[in-house]
């Protein structure tokens, strides 16, 4: 039964979203009806090999799903599902490249407008990527190259069933990636040009020197955060990646918080000679208290994230050992 669900899962993946449930329901019934009939003819349950043989006869999941697509002239239905996936992957790689470029520009201490310029260049890059991918697949179609999977595909290579828990959608991940990138660019640029963070308040307040010393750690945190989100774009069901990312980000956050907690002068007045010094001291004390609370929450988060990671790993190892 597991192989049937895995087969249907693979078919569903290549179908248009609006028809996924309806089509797989119908296919499930068809497969089960065939199995019922064969089992009553044989007087016994079908073996695993017999079930796999039946699935093999139905054709590869991609090929079966492609038959539900309307015919297209430029790119045929047999390679259309693969085309969509390659195009999506290429566009996502372009998003990650643009995000990385923005971070690199901000990390180099260049003005914010340079990062924005790189970000606004994405539509041009996306059009170029779309053109090249489409051209490559149209050529493949035109010259008659085919993905001959019908005879060679092996049901045993179907991916395992995934848990029902809904993974984040790609749209959510792209939004998350954009927010992370914008925030990282703003923060990293702002450490060099504090007007971006303090606004008009720069006339009264500055960051203490410690913040700029922590720049490399902030940079690493931004890169790690964005990289994991970028990786999740390719496989939204990569739960282990999400857990690892939480552990690393919590650990990095804790290191930063501990350093900040040991620094008396988190903020300094723009004009130390004035009476503002005493007010800034009060703000620093309040900030230390706030950071202490955040650090305690972070320790709890780190412990929870690390425990989940270990539990998931042990559970995975057990399933492998049990052969499921």
């Amino acid at each position: 039964m597991d192989w049937i669900e895995r087969y249907l899962q693979a078919v569903k993946f290549a179908l248009p979203k609006s028809q996924q449930d309806d089509i797989t329901r119908e296919l499930r019934d068809s497969i089960l009806s065939q199995i019922d009939e064969r089992e009553s003819a044989l007087g016994r349950a079908l073996t695993e090999d017999e079930q796999l043989e039946l699935l093999k006869k139905m054709g590869s999941p991609t090929q079966l799903a492609s038959r539900y697509s309307p015919a297209r002239a430029l790119i045929g239905s047999a390679i259309l599902p693969i085309y969509w996936k390659v195009l999506k992957a290429a566009l996502m790689i372009a998003v990650v490249v643009v995000a990385a470029t923005c971070i690199a520009i901000a990390a180099a201490g260049r003005p914010l407008r340079d990062s924005l310029h790189a970000l606004l260049n994405y539509p041009n890059l996306a059009i170029t990527v779309f053109a090249w991918v489409t051209l490559a697949f149209a050529a493949l179609e035109f010259f008659g190259a085919k993905f001959c999977v019908s005879d060679r595909w092996d049901p045993r290579q179907l991916p395992p069933l995934t848990k029902e828990r809904r993974p984040p959608s790609r749209a959510e991940l792209i939004t998350q990636l954009l927010i992370q990138t914008v925030f990282a660019v703003w923060w990293l640029t702002g450490l060099h040009d504090q007007r971006l963070i303090f606004g008009p308040g720069i006339q009264f307040l500055h960051f203490g020197p410690i913040w700029l010393s922590l720049f490399p750690l902030f940079l690493v945190a931004a890169i790690v955060d964005i990289s994991f989100t970028g990786a999740m774009l390719f496989n939204p069901q990569w739960n282990r990646g999400r857990r690892i990312s939480r552990v690393i980000m919590s650990a990095l956050g804790l290191v930063i918080l501990l350093i900040l907690l040991q620094t008396p002068e988190l903020l300094s007045p723009a004009h130390p000679e004035t009476q503002a010094q005493s007010q800034v001291n009060a703000i620093n004390s309040a900030l230390h208290l706030g950071l202490l609370v955040v650090a305690i929450i972070n320790v709890i988060n780190l412990a929870v994230a690390a425990t989940k990671l270990v539990v998931a790993k042990v559970g995975g190892a057990r399933r492998v050992a049990a052969g499921s």
Binding site: Q19, I23, R25, E26, L27, D29, S30, L32, S33, Q34, K57, M58, G59, Q63, L64, R67, Y68
Partner: protein, 107 residues
């Protein structure tokens, strides 16, 4: 090369015939699996990858009506000819008989 050409031509020839056969079989309400079996028993083999998308297409063209119902403790999608489908089937049958008579003479 020759067998590939033959296979393509055979598929092309069968395509129209299959539509006619499916429409004719669905004068009686059936679900996918029993329809496939009925066709097969009369010498019209058709695989799932061809039949189910075809049923979906004919339904979207308004020639078939379908509904989900439980039978033998399982949900099945039952198909039958729509009133429009009945008219089309009648016209296609007449067309088929005409072509068949002509081909008999030609061949």
């Amino acid at each position: 090369m020759n067998s590939e050409v033959l296979e393509n031509l055979r598929l092309e020839l069968r395509r129209g015939c299959l539509i006619l056969a499916v429409l004719a079989e669905l004068r009686t309400e059936r679900y996918g699996y029993t329809l496939r079996k009925a066709l097969s028993e009369q010498g019209m083999e058709i695989d799932e990858g061809t039949l189910y998308p075809l049923l979906r297409r004919l339904e979207s063209q308004g020639l078939l009506i379908s509904e989900w119902r439980e039978e033998d403790k399982r949900n099945k999608r039952f198909y039958r000819l729509s009133p429009e489908g009945k008219v089309i089937l009648k016209q296609l049958s007449a067309e088929w008989k005409g072509i068949n008579a002509s081909l008999d003479g030609i061949l």
